[in-house]
Amino acid sequence: MKERPLSLTIYGLSTLLGMMAFLYPFLLPAVQRESIMGRARAQDAPLLLTVLVGVCFVALLLEVQAQAGGAKLVALLGILVSINSILRFVEVAIPGPGGLSPIFFLIVLTGYVYGGGFGFLMGSMTLLVSGLITGSVGPWLPYQMFTAGWIGLSAPMCRPLVNLLGGRGKWPEVVILAVFGAVWGLVFGAIMNIWFWPFAMGPASQHWQPGMGMTDVISRYLAFYVVTSLAWDMTRLVGNVVLILAFGMPTLRALRRFERRFAYTYQPDAQVVL
């Protein structure tokens, strides 16, 4: 069967390209230490990157969608996304340093129970729809969708570990998912920052200047990160952990209870049909 390698290639390539786009500000000094052209090149960075991420996202979504079609999944996704988008209102409504966003919790758990493709769609669609209804569509959207999609896509990676540590329904399951949520809480913030970073630094970029090494870039990025978002990301991390620990068990139970009902299909060969 050649379906699977092809599928993996598309996942792999788009993920690699996406990661390169995200890490672009750090790659630049590493590969172009001797170049004088850096300044001109960096100019097109933000736009080029947005387009690039967009193309990767299109490729990935085409691949995922083909596996997650059909009325049951479309309806399920639609309703879960609308629940999750409402949770996003909570985020918008909480004043002060945000970051505490309840949306990741459901993305992690649905991806974990219903599979990576579903999780990917759940993540990216949640960001898209909540962006639509809170009126915050912007150039950051492809990045948010891509990253939130990755969260859902990677959630099934917890399964082997869970099976190793006692299996479904035991407490290690929720702890593993909480740790997973914690890691993504930080990574999501860091990635969204990297998107913002070239924009914030301007086109004739100072994130790379002739003679500036990778360590300088990273230390500047870290400063930028600490200033702009460490507080946000820490609350997100804590939020994810607390939500998964508190709600994980009952939510998993509810999702699993419906898992089979959504999976019923009719096999005509097994029946006596006149």
């Binding site: 139970r253 019923y264 299909t265 009719y266 005509p268 029946q271 006596v272 049909v273 006149l274």
Partner: protein
């Protein structure tokens, strides 16, 4: 048109078949009414006509089905959607788009119907269902009846020859239900559309029905035929039919008008109604409202209501939609705080007390009992409430009532360990009743408790409420269901525009009202009889 030949169907993982050896023939252009208690397989049978069973539900099917010359099982639901329009119970759970026109066009867009033709078809169904004035509206701004009409319009967009409806009015109030049923009757009469309808409100459609199919469940035989043939063999029927059967009226009347020709001959046996003695009221009322006023956004909803409910009586509050009934109930438990007036529970003013505290003494069953249920078992639903109120559930002696005893009284003893959401509508409602009464409150409020219940479940509810009333509970219930009110009420209050416009014993209040009079009162005006039992007591 629709042909079932020895059809047996079993859901996946189910112990026994949901349909057992069903054979039916429904002719073209007929209006067929499908009746039977919940759980008898009505929904399953309907879903066989467009292939949802077994394509959506899985499971195994034997026998053959033919609809409009096609076999839905081999044709798949996608093809069947062109031949069978299907409307579901819940108007909230069948829409994809948020606007009337878009919703109707959704299926057409997906089927790549050319835009010109699409316009024509949308206009067509908008006119057929009188939706043209609403075409631009958002669905969430529509009433339940309007939404159900949109659902019918959407189902008709493909110009199917058959329209199948699964209890389309069970979530609606009587006025909306009537709109929907009238639209159906018109479609059937004017277009010759074959209609297959599962419905609890027999009295509204019976006069127009060509064919009545009864699925009694529990392995009994399916009955099918013209209403006058099938009705005499059914147990749970509208009061008019029940009375006619007992008095052996022939031919069986299906409308009040037909019934009048028989009842007129019995007029002389009508005696002036005896005066029911007012119950002795030793203590004060359990619930007392004085001059209560509530407004939303400066729009008055309740304007100065006085109401008392005494221990040991069932008060029924009636009135049209938006007359402030639900608001009144909510202000009794503190969910809504009145702008003016006083509310007393058991002699104590509730202002300043939180809802949880008030509900220790007043049980409240909301319209949608599903909103209450989330535990893993029926028994757990009860213990959660107890724990919410600070009871130690592991010390049975301290509890107001043993949860298992209460389940037994609710007829749920065997279901104690079931998942509440898997139960039938009536059972779920009783679980919710258990969850709000496990603290043994002195009063119980119920909001539209008959929604979605069949005749049997309604009767069970009346019996249960009467038992609690006799044990001294003060019960206040809001309902649109005239027959249920007639059966249950000790006292009736009519509400309109936020005021109570009439209040008193059921016979004078209900019997005289052209809108709220039950069937028996219509047959025997000024008799003071409301239910079949009332009339039989005097007539036989």
């Amino acid at each position: 048109m629709i042909l079932f030949d020895h059809v047996t169907y079993t859901y996946p993982e189910a112990p026994g078949p949901a349909l057992r050896d069903i054979s039916l023939h429904l002719p073209e252009a007929a209006l067929t009414l499908l009746v039977g208690p919940s759980g008898a397989g009505k929904s399953t049978l309907l879903r066989c006509t467009n292939g949802l069973v077994p394509h959506f539900s899985g499971g195994s099917l034997q026998g053959s089905i033919t609809v409009n010359g096609l076999n839905p099982v081999t044709a798949t639901p996608e093809i069947m959607s062109r031949h069978v329009g299907f409307v579901f119970q819940d108007p909230e759970a069948q829409f994809v788009m948020n606007q009337v026109e878009d919703e109707i066009a959704f299926a057409l867009e997906n089927a790549a119907i050319p835009p010109q033709e699409m316009r024509v078809r949308v206009e067509e169904v908008l006119d057929l269902l009188d939706l043209a004035p609403l075409r631009q509206r958002r669905l969430e701004t529509l009433s339940g009846g309007e939404r159900q009409r949109v659902a019918i319009a959407a189902a008709l967009a493909f110009r199917p020859r058959v329209l199948v409806l699964d209890e389309p009015t069970s979530q609606l109030d009587p006025k909306s239900a009537e709109d929907v049923l009238q639209a159906l009757v018109r479609l059937n009469a004017d277009l010759g559309l074959t209609v297959l309808l599962a419905e609890h409100r027999l009295e509204r459609v019976l006069p127009f029905v060509d064919q009545l199919v009864s699925l009694p469940g529990n392995g009994h035989d399916t009955l099918a035929g013209p209403p006058r043939q099938v009705l005499p063999r059914l147990e749970l029927v509208p009061p008019l039919v029940a009375l006619a059967k007992r008095l052996e009226w022939d031919p069986l009347p299906l409308t009040i008008k037909e019934g009048m020709s028989f009842s007129r001959q019995l007029r002389e046996r009508v005696v002036a109604p005896e005066h029911r003695p007012e119950p002795a009221r030793s203590n004060g009322p359990y619930l007392r409202m004085r001059d209560v006023k509530v407004a939303y956004d400066a729009q008055p909803v309740v304007r100065g209501v006085d109401l008392d409910v005494w221990p040991g009586e069932i008060v029924v509050l009636m009135g049209r939609n938006g007359s402030g009934k639900t608001t009144l109930l909510k202000s009794l438990v503190g969910l809504i705080r009145p702008q003016a007036g006083r509310v007393k529970v058991s002699g104590q003013d509730i202002s300043g007390k939180d809802v949880a505290h008030i509900c220790r003494q007043v049980g409240y069953l909301p319209q949608d009992p599903n909103a209450l249920l989330f535990a893993n078992s029926v028994l757990e639903e009860l213990t959660i409430t107890l724990r919410n109120h600070g009871f130690e559930t592991d010390r049975p002696a301290d509890l107001p009532i043993n949860p298992e005893t209460l389940l037994d009284r609710l007829g749920l003893a065997e279901k104690a360990n079931c998942y509440p959401r898997d139960l039938s509508v009536g059972e779920r409602q009783r679980v919710a009743l258990g969850a709000v009464t496990v603290t043994q409150p002195g009063a119980l409020l119920l909001d539209e408790p008959t929604r979605g219940l069949d005749y049997g479940a309604k009767q069970a509810l009346v019996d249960l409420l009467r038992g609690w009333r006799d044990a001294g509970m003060a019960i206040l219930l809001v309902t649109h269901d005239v027959e249920f009110a007639a059966a249950a009420a000790d006292r009736v209050a009519l509400m309109s525009q936020g005021e109570i416009i009439a209040s008193g014993a059921p016979a004078p209040v209900l019997g005289a009202s052209p809108l709220f009079a039950p069937q028996v009162a219509r047959l025997f005006p000024e008799s003071g009889w409301l239910t079949v039992e009332d009339s039989l007591k005097h007539l036989s």
